[in-house]
């Protein structure tokens, strides 16, 4: 998909240009009111830009009405049809596209979001989180060419959110069709997206592969949302083996042998001059490349790109300087191991 839009709405102006490759998943991050939903609405055809163009698989779509675009939108509010049962809501997409197996499709998606028990209910009989899940099932059941998701994981509880995230991951991978997802959560971007776009005040202030944006954010907003250590590799039992061959212990739901990434916050990295031999499973010997202030902390950056945030007091006590060899120590419990978008990770 390639798109370029300009739209003025009152004092706010959206002016963006973006491309999404076939099969690519793009996460859109940005502060409230930065134009994320506006962008999705423009792509879906619910808003018309002042000027712009839009094409998907070479078809020009700007003049096409929403239902001809093959673009599905899970909006920020669930907006389930109040007059239809939950099942009929989910069947809506497949039926509208005259698919014969709409009933099975709908039931399958209801199963996926763990909402089959509500199939016969009316939307007004659902809780907020239940409605959100059904809305997700409805959007997925429509199986559009391009899927747009506006904060798909809000209102979900601590069990449902990871489950739905996992579902989305599976779906987005097997579909092999593009998707754009708005989120406020770096983890969503990390697990689901190949690429991240950061919007601010209607403009794209940063974009790039998820890993790059989340580890080396250049915009202040991305920095606040992310700034993580990511170590790509292959998942193994109890952790990940990095491309350089180093084993990193961690916890997560990814099975062994997958493309994956180990994620941990620089704040979770303890720095020692000698190997401390304590409970932490991961002690990585690194050479310090640089030190810079990071808020009220000091960010140490190793030559292989890993970062550690420590307090100035600690930095002073350790008498650190660039070129020095130190141990970066991280507890396995602080390392998340996530299956990541296969293949695409190698890109940057």
């Amino acid at each position: 998909m390639r798109a370029q839009f300009r739209l003025a709405r009152g004092k706010f102006t959206l002016d963006v240009e973006l491309a999404v490759e076939p099969g690519e998943v793009v996460a859109v991050l940005g502060p409230n009111g930065s134009g994320k939903s506006t962008l999705l609405n423009l792509i879906a055809g619910l808003l018309r830009p002042d000027t712009g163009h839009l094409s998907l698989d070479g078809r020009d779509l700007l003049g096409a009405p929403p239902h001809r675009r093959g673009i599905g939108l899970l909006a920020q509010e669930p907006l389930l049809f109040p007059h239809l049962s939950v099942l009929a809501n989910v069947e809506f997409g497949p039926r509208a596209q005259y698919r014969a197996d709409y009933r099975e499709t709908a039931l399958r998606w209801l199963d996926e979001v763990d909402a089959r028990a509500f199939a016969d209910r009316k939307p007004r009989q659902l809780s907020g989180g239940q409605a959100q899940r059904v809305a997700l099932a409805r959007a997925l059941a429509a199986d559009p060419e391009l899927l747009l998701l506006d904060e798909p994981l809000t209102a979900l509880d601590v069990d449902a959110a990871p489950a739905m995230r996992g579902l989305l991951r599976r779906v987005l991978r097997t579909r092999n069709r593009p998707a754009i997802m708005v989120t406020h959560d770096a983890l969503d971007a990390l697990v689901l997206a190949d690429r991240v776009i950061v919007l601010d005040a209607g403009r794209i202030v940063e974009q790039g592969p998820t890993r790059t944006v989340l580890t080396r954010p250049r915009s202040p907003f991305a920095a606040r949302i992310a700034g993580l250590n990511l170590v790509p590799g292959t998942t193994v039992d109890g952790g990940i083996r990095s491309s350089a061959g180093v084993f990193i212990a961690g916890r997560g739901s990814a099975g062994a042998g997958e493309d994956g990434v180990a994620v941990f916050s620089p704040a979770a990295v303890a720095v020692h001059r000698d190997n401390p031999h304590g409970s932490p499973r991961n002690a990585l010997r690194v050479r310090l490349a640089g030190m810079e202030p990071h808020g009220d902390l000091i960010r140490l950056r190793a030559e292989d790109g890993l970062a550690a945030d420590i307090t100035p007091a600690a930095a002073a006590e350790l008498e650190l300087e660039p070129g020095q060899d130190v141990w970066f120590v991280v507890k396995a419990t602080e390392v998340g191991v996530h299956a990541a978008r296969g293949g695409v990770w190698g890109r940057d």
């Binding site: 055809g45 673009i71 907006l79 007059h83 997409g93 959007a139």
Partner: protein, 255 residues
């Protein structure tokens, strides 16, 4: 949300304005003569014709007026406001004049009458047309109001799920609008059922063909006012029954 209690005072007053006169009427009916009157040939044939034509014209109103309401509520072009006002014409035109207008248009010397070459006046079709003419604005206006109140958020959602315009209409807009459509249909049906002036002017008053119940009542009044009143009550009872039976619970909306 409970209602302000004081609201019941004007509500009951309004209800009284409507119901008290009818009760006064009941008082005057000579109940003994009623059965004979109501089962007379003329009354039964008029009643049958009335039901049939009112149902037909309500259907026509729905099929033509429904789309018209949609266009008025959902499109946006120059002159829309004027169009919207023109729809009110039959509402304010005295019905007899409306009937004359139809006669001028579709009669033997009328523009369309000559063009089409069919003899419409004095047929049952003419009755349906007359009723449609007077009843249509009721459907259009009340439906348009409901459409505006409902908004179009769900229609947008349906479109992003790949539903074409017809599917959206059939499976989202119309079901969500049922209460409004119900009101519109009831108003149109009632207006068609009670239609007198346009019918007598355009379709005439031939028993079995064009003499609907209101026309029969009018004629009865020539010879016997009390009989006319009794017949009107029949009309009222029938209409209410039809409306109550035909208005399914679904139409009462999603609460």
């Amino acid at each position: 949300m409970t209602l302000p209690r004081l609201l019941w005072v004007p509500a009951l007053l309004g209800f009284a304005v409507i119901v008290l006169p009818v009760i006064g009427l009941l008082d005057r009916v000579e109940w003994a003569r009623l059965p004979a009157l109501v089962t007379s040939d003329a009354a039964l044939s008029a009643l049958g014709l009335s039901m049939q034509t009112a149902a037909m014209s309500t259907l026509v109103c729905l099929l033509l007026g429904g789309p018209l309401a949609f266009v008025l509520a959902r499109s946006d072009f120059r002159g829309l406001r004027v169009l919207r006002s023109l729809v009110l014409l039959p509402l304010v035109l005295p019905p007899v004049v409306g009937g004359l207008a139809l006669l001028y248009l579709l009669g033997r010397n009328g523009f369309l009458g000559q063009l089409l070459g069919v003899q419409l006046p004095y047929t049952t079709a003419a009755v349906v047309l007359a009723q449609t003419f007077v009843a249509m604005p009721f459907l259009v206006v009340s439906l348009e109001g409901a459409l505006r109140t409902a908004g179009e958020r769900y229609e947008a959602v349906a479109a992003t799920l790949g539903a074409g315009r017809w599917t959206v209409l059939r499976r989202v807009t119309i079901p969500l609008l049922l209460p409004g459509i119900g009101s519109g249909v009831v108003l149109a049906f009632a207006r068609a059922l009670g239609e007198f002036g346009a019918t007598i002017a355009f379709a005439g008053s031939l028993q079995g063909t064009t003499r609907t119940l209101p026309l029969e009542i009018y004629l009865q009044r020539e010879s016997d006012v009390d009989a006319a009143v009794a017949l009107s009550l029949l009309l009222v009872v029938i209409a209410i029954v039809v409306i109550v039976v035909a208005r399914p619970r679904a139409v009462e909306g999603l609460r």
